[in-house]
């Protein structure tokens, strides 16, 4: 018995040591293109909205180029910008366009994120002005009859604090979160769709990718236009849809060869399935 314990313990120690060994032998940031293909290590940090997508992209890129290791860390768009600037990260992730003071950096758009309003399919309302949406979300408009619908109380479906869709929604309407009076607060998009599908008087907002797919799959929801533009992934991709934002990879002026290769890969058509699976919209180049 005791011998067995020793054997197992030694084996564990050895495997740990081996793990450390390979870690150390991988040189940091080689960014070299050698004859066998790409190899080296990339650090990608920033927006928590993009991070799950970036991890999927990195996984596929690593499969294509076994010599490459990509380390994805989330921490907000601000961190992505500052890490890209300071060189801590090879690529920063920012779920917004670059600001005026950030012209020392280059943004490479990999996808777009659009948020649309959804109501129950039986709701006769086909359009709401931005003012009406604000009134609904701040509890000044409580019945669909005042918004051109039937006599039905409005159930306001809102998202939990910190969610990306909530930020897009609030910043488009220029609302402060504490001003919103919600009847239901949901976590992810799927939860939002199920909630609106289950209550005839509900209104909510979710990622367009999710809403479009679920409406096609037969969920009883209806996508409302925002600012007169129909809520479709095509309109998000073309940049027409107002309640949307770009998802950017941010680099310094001259990114290394490996970083450039990874960004090119992320902008190519072969990753569109990954982008769609994360409910984002691929952009045409």
């Amino acid at each position: 018995m005791r011998q067995l314990v020793y054997v197992v313990f030694t084996a564990m120690l050895l495997s740990v040591a081996a793990g450390c060994g390979t870690d150390r032998s991988t040189p940091d940031k080689v960014n070299a293109v050698n004859a066998a293909g790409l190899s080296g290590k990339l650090t990608v940090t920033g927006s928590s909205t993009i991070a799950p997508l970036a991890m999927e992209l990195a996984k596929r890129f690593e499969q294509l180029h076994p010599g490459v290791r990509i380390d994805v860390q989330s921490g907000g768009s601000g961190k992505g910008i500052s890490d890209a600037r300071s060189g801590i990260a090879d690529i920063g992730m920012a779920s917004r366009a670059l600001k005026d003071g950030e012209s020392d950096l280059t943004a490479h758009q990999i996808a777009a994120d659009g948020v649309c309003l959804i109501v129950h399919k039986s709701n006769p309302v086909i359009q709401l002005s931005d003012k009406q949406v604000i009134a609904i979300y701040t509890d000044q408009l409580n019945n669909w009859i005042d918004a051109g619908g039937t006599d039905l109380p409005i159930a306001v479906v809102h998202k939990a604090e910190g969610r990306a869709t909530l930020e897009v929604f609030l910043s488009y309407l220029e609302l402060e979160n504490p001003a919103v009076k919600a009847d239901v607060i949901v976590g992810d998009n799927q939860h939002g769709v199920k909630t609106v599908a289950g209550a005839e008087g509900a209104i909510g907002y979710v990622s367009i990718g999710t809403a479009e797919a679920d409406a096609l799959a037969g969920e009883p929801i209806k996508l409302l236009p925002v600012g007169g533009v129909a809520a479709t992934t095509a309109n998000v991709a073309s940049g027409e849809f107002p309640m949307s934002r770009p998802l950017n990879f941010v680099t310094g002026r001259s990114p290394g060869a490996l970083a450039t290769a990874f960004i090119d890969f992320c902008q190519s058509e072969e990753v569109h399935d990954l982008i769609v699976s994360q409910y984002f919209v691929p952009v045409q180049r």
Binding site: A160, E161, P178, D183, I185, G187, K194, A202
Partner: protein, 291 residues
């Protein structure tokens, strides 16, 4: 405890080893709780240091990104949903156990037990989905969106009922047969045997089951998250939406950074507080009954 002395039939001192082994296991299981609490305290310390303790009670609402940190509605919601669930589930569970132990024919009792075991094994997310698609639209007729204190309490009750039923059932089945036969020999009706002999004799087992069920209700996250509406405000009616402490953590953890994260650990600490308070009250009640 009597330690067996060295003897020739057994090569080494088994009792000494068993003592060491059980002592070690006891230490480990106690240490885990202490480790978790220490970890929670460490992680929530930054929030306490910058915000202080009182603002978690006196602030007007919970908007952690806008500097408002009131946790009271969520503590209330956790207490209400799990308390309500136990009030629904405990009588149901005990009655189901009494039925299968004393009234049901053996074959039906076996099937009944299997069904209850199956109910206990249904994952909470399935309960949540069922509640969201079936129960919530029904409850919406009572007013509001349907995602409410009531929906969460009802589904929680369904989820913890099997725990009460199964533990009560095994507690009842381990009541000594002599007691039951003695009662029958005295001419007691089945009703009196059940309520005056079997249940009092099985009380500590049933209590344990109810405690376990309460703990499960307090800790349940997924189903409650899908059904309670999650608005962090004091409920004004049974159809008002509420947010429990567990739902609060699950909703915001994935997107929380730095201080916000630390605030969620405060939620976790409060949850430990609610559970400890529950255990303490149960101990007190039990203690008073014994006197």
């Amino acid at each position: 405890m009597t330690l067996s002395c060295r003897n020739i039939s057994f090569p080494f001192n088994a009792d000494r080893w068993l003592t060491r082994l059980t002592r070690l296991s006891a230490c480990v299981s106690a240490a885990i709780v202490l480790l978790v609490i220490t970890f929670l305290l460490l992680e929530s310390w930054p929030a306490f240091r910058t915000i202080g303790v009182s603002r978690f009670i006196t602030d007007e609402s919970w908007h952690p990104l806008s500097d408002r940190f009131c946790l009271v509605p969520m503590i209330t919601a956790t207490a209400l949903t799990s308390g309500g669930a136990v009030i629904f589930a405990a009588p149901l569970g005990v009655c189901s156990a009494v039925f299968s132990q004393f009234y049901a024919p053996p074959r039906i009792a076996a099937w009944h037990r299997r069904l209850v075991e199956l109910l206990a094994g249904i994952p909470s997310v399935v309960f949540g989905l069922w509640g969201l698609v079936i129960l919530v639209p029904l409850l919406a007729h009572l007013g509001g969106s349907g995602q409410s204190l009531l929906a969460a309490t009802l589904v929680l009750a369904l989820m913890i009922m099997p725990t009460v039923a199964l533990t009560s059932s095994s507690a009842l089945s381990s009541v000594p047969a002599e007691l039951i036969r003695g009662g029958a020999a005295l001419g007691m009706k089945r009703w009196s045997i059940v309520w005056q002999i079997a249940i009092p004799a099985a009380r500590s087992g049933i209590n344990t089951g109810v405690m376990l069920a309460t703990a499960r209700a307090v800790g349940e996250t997924m189903a409650v998250l899908m059904l309670a509406g999650n608005v962090p405000e004091m409920p004004s009616a049974i159809v008002s939406p509420v947010r429990t402490l567990t739902a609060n953590i699950a909703l915001e953890m994935g997107y929380a950074t730095a201080e916000h994260r630390s605030l969620l650990f405060v939620s976790g600490l409060m949850l430990m507080g609610v559970v400890s308070a529950g255990v303490l009250i149960a101990e007190l009640v039990r203690g008073r009954r014994h006197v």
